[in-house]
């Protein structure tokens, strides 16, 4: 099958056009580095099916980070290239266009963000540009779909450029200037009030208070939306469900099947957190305790992403992250990691060097609990008082900073400085935000629920054969003597490798004091990533990197656990 590749600078709307061409939904965001991996889809081109690839954004074919390497690698396999160009920034985009056309591959240019160019008083003579480049050029608006049909039609006539021949780098820059000058006119534009407000969010004096306000607002919004969904939607739903579950319980009667499906009853009642049956805990934990917060988190994250605020936050955070061996863009894996550590680990690819990526990935695994885990921490510790929840998060924040400071000193390698384009602020598109939130929520449902079911089954099975008691005995010295928590918590830590949210729930029946719960929950976050994250880290860091990271995790877990024990319980 023929291969069509979308190439372009970061944040020019490639993923949006990919979605339009293929009908495959992919994540789009208003900051460079959203797409660090390739997405594949299919479309029909003059009657025949072709494969379409959405490549990560790159400024040139000489890559400076792994995401760009991927892009340059894919180009080599392309039968046809759709070069997506930001019409509001033609001059900067043309360098990659020329480099691509010089390869002699059949190509067409999508002049995207055509609507914004109009608003900014930029006009481009499309016919003249087409003549100069020697390939079809089509203005498009990825957001609304305008121009996409014409783009598809004209892909049929895409051919290698005859006007653009291989040239030296210096010649290419001259050509970029010549072409831009010939086709583009810019109406002079004055600084608007909007520009001034936008600048306030990137200056340190005004930007820091704004950043704190934005983060606080985001946090409150997640809590408020999550709690709202629980009390208005999910709890009423489970109130309706309880009689059904009880009927099933009665029908089954005591026995193995009852153990697996309904689990233990407490005073003849289902306890949705502790019963550990597939139809009780297995449904309640993901749907009524976690899902509402996942929806809330991704809604808020999507809005933050689409406005273009994150690169500004990265700029403000740069000085701080530099001390930890990264640069400001290290905040992106943190933000994504709060949703789920898997995309967080992938997002480390926006960092340039191995050292930076190792530190970013390790710190995220140590100290950034995913939303599912956070929801459970609130659910389990919240009833004892919010200060216990705060203890967990303050500890994790300290771990992030202290481990970062240390790793920055001992990990060999370079930490290049931040170099980042700040996208313009955009009003988030309601439909785009809703779709993106839904895609991510669906991802959670598709992955979390099967794993939770598997986890619950496994726990029941391992209990039945007595393996878990054995495990408790084996780990009793560490758990009881060093961490000051019941030996049974070892089982939760084991399950945590499968799903951390489930593991947090498993701590409840152990009847620990809130202090012990704080220790156990913090351990659960630090000691090791869940299996899904582990697989990605393994791929991103390699065997040696992963071993080193795992060493850091286990050591930190033991040190922090011991320290917490000494502070909270005493010896």
């Amino acid at each position: 099958m023929k291969l069509v590749v979308l190439m372009g600078n970061p944040n020019v709307g490639k993923s949006g056009i990919f979605s339009r061409l293929t009908g495959t939904r992919v994540i789009t965001s208003n900051y460079p580095g959203t797409t660090v991996d390739v997405s594949r889809g299919k479309m029909r081109l003059s009657g025949t099916p072709v494969e379409v690839i959405d490549a990560p954004g790159t400024y040139s074919l000489t890559p400076t980070n792994p995401a760009e390497e991927v892009a340059a690698g894919i180009l080599a396999q392309a039968d046809l290239v759709v070069n997506v160009v930001d019409a509001t920034n033609l001059e900067r985009n043309l360098y990659l266009t020329l480099e691509t056309l010089e390869r002699g591959v059949p190509a067409a240019v999508a002049l995207n963000l055509w609507d914004e160019a109009g608003h900014q008083g930029i006009t481009i003579d499309v016919a003249a540009l087409e003549a100069l480049l020697g390939v079809p050029v089509v203005p498009t608006v990825g957001l609304s779909g305008q121009g996409i049909r014409e783009l598809v039609e004209r892909l049929g006539e895409a051919h290698p450029s005859e006007t653009i021949q291989p040239m030296s780098e210096e010649e290419r820059w001259v050509a970029v200037g010549r072409i831009t000058g010939a086709v583009q006119t810019i109406a002079h534009r004055h600084h608007t009030l909007g520009d001034r407000i936008a600048e306030a969010s990137i200056r340190p004096v005004t930007g820091l208070p704004i950043a704190l306000a934005v983060i606080a607002a985001a946090f409150l919004a997640v809590r408020w939306i999550g709690e709202g969904l629980i009390s208005l939607v999910f709890e009423p739903l489970f109130d309706l469900y309880t009689p059904i579950a009880m009927t099933i319980s009665d029908l089954l009667g005591p026995g193995v099947l009852h153990e697996i499906l309904i689990g233990r009853l407490f005073d003849g009642e289902i306890d949705y957190v502790q019963s550990m049956g597939l139809l009780t805990t297995g449904l309640f934990v993901p749907l009524a305790m976690i899902l509402p917060y996942i929806v809330a988190f991704y809604l808020v994250l999507s809005i933050l992403e689409d406005t273009g605020y994150l690169p500004r936050l990265a700029t403000l955070a740069d000085t701080f992250f530099h001390r930890l061996g990264m640069h400001g863009y290290g905040i992106i894996p943190v933000f994504l990691g709060f949703g789920c550590n898997v995309p967080g680990a992938l997002a480390t690819r926006v960092l340039e060097t191995k050292k930076q990526r190792f530190i970013a990935a390790t710190l995220m695994s140590l100290a950034i609990p995913c939303m599912a885990q956070i929801a459970m921490i609130f659910g389990v510790l919240g009833p004892f008082g919010m200060h216990y929840v705060a203890m967990v998060f303050v500890t994790l924040a300290l771990v992030y900073v202290v481990a970062g400071l240390i790793l920055n000193r001992i990990v060999p390698g370079e930490c290049p400085e931040i170099f980042l384009e700040i996208p313009p602020y955009r009003m988030p598109d309601l439909r785009a935000t809703a779709t993106k939130t839904w895609m991510r929520v669906r991802g959670f449902i598709g992955e979390a629920i099967p794993y939770l079911f598997l986890g619950i089954l496994l726990v029941n099975l391992l209990y039945a054969v007595g393996f878990l008691d054995l495990l408790s005995v084996a780990f009793a010295p560490v758990m009881e003597n060093w961490l000051g928590i019941p030996a049974g918590a070892a089982v939760a830590l084991l399950v945590g490798f499968l799903r951390k949210d489930l593991a947090v729930g498993m701590l409840v029946p152990l009847g620990m004091s809130p202090e012990q719960l704080v220790i156990a929950v913090t351990m659960l976050s630090i000691y090791f990533p869940c299996v899904a994250t582990f697989v990605v880290l393994f791929r991103e860091l390699g065997v040696r990197g992963m071993l080193a990271a795992a060493g850091v995790m286990v050591t930190t877990a033991l040190l922090v656990g011991g320290a917490l024990r000494a502070v909270l319980i005493g010896f």
């Binding site: 400024y59 040139s60 000489t62 400076t64 920034n89 001059e91 900067r92 360098y95 990659l96 900014q120 780098e169 820059w173 534009r189 600048e199 990137i202 200056r203 340190p204 690169p311 990265a314 700029t315 403000l316 740069d318 000085t319 530099h322 640069h327 400001g328 290049p416 400085e417 931040i418 170099f419 980042l420 384009e421 700040i422 313009p424």
Partner: protein
Amino acid sequence: MITMEKTLLDLESGMRGTLIRFAGTPGFVRKLRTIGIREGKTLTVVTRHPLGGPVVIEVDGREVTLGRGMAVRVIVDVAT
């Protein structure tokens, strides 16, 4: 009009200069040029973050954040 050569890092926020050359490796030069920071462009410093933090500049209506170690290798002409 008298002009003076300075590095981008010497410019206070709000000041502007015309890029005349780079003092760095070809890789460094390419990186800046491909993001739009090129010879002949007018660069305006939007802000300089304290404690060794990055510099934010505006070029062709777009803002770019770059580290101080990079800013010091960008030589601009400033009208005085």
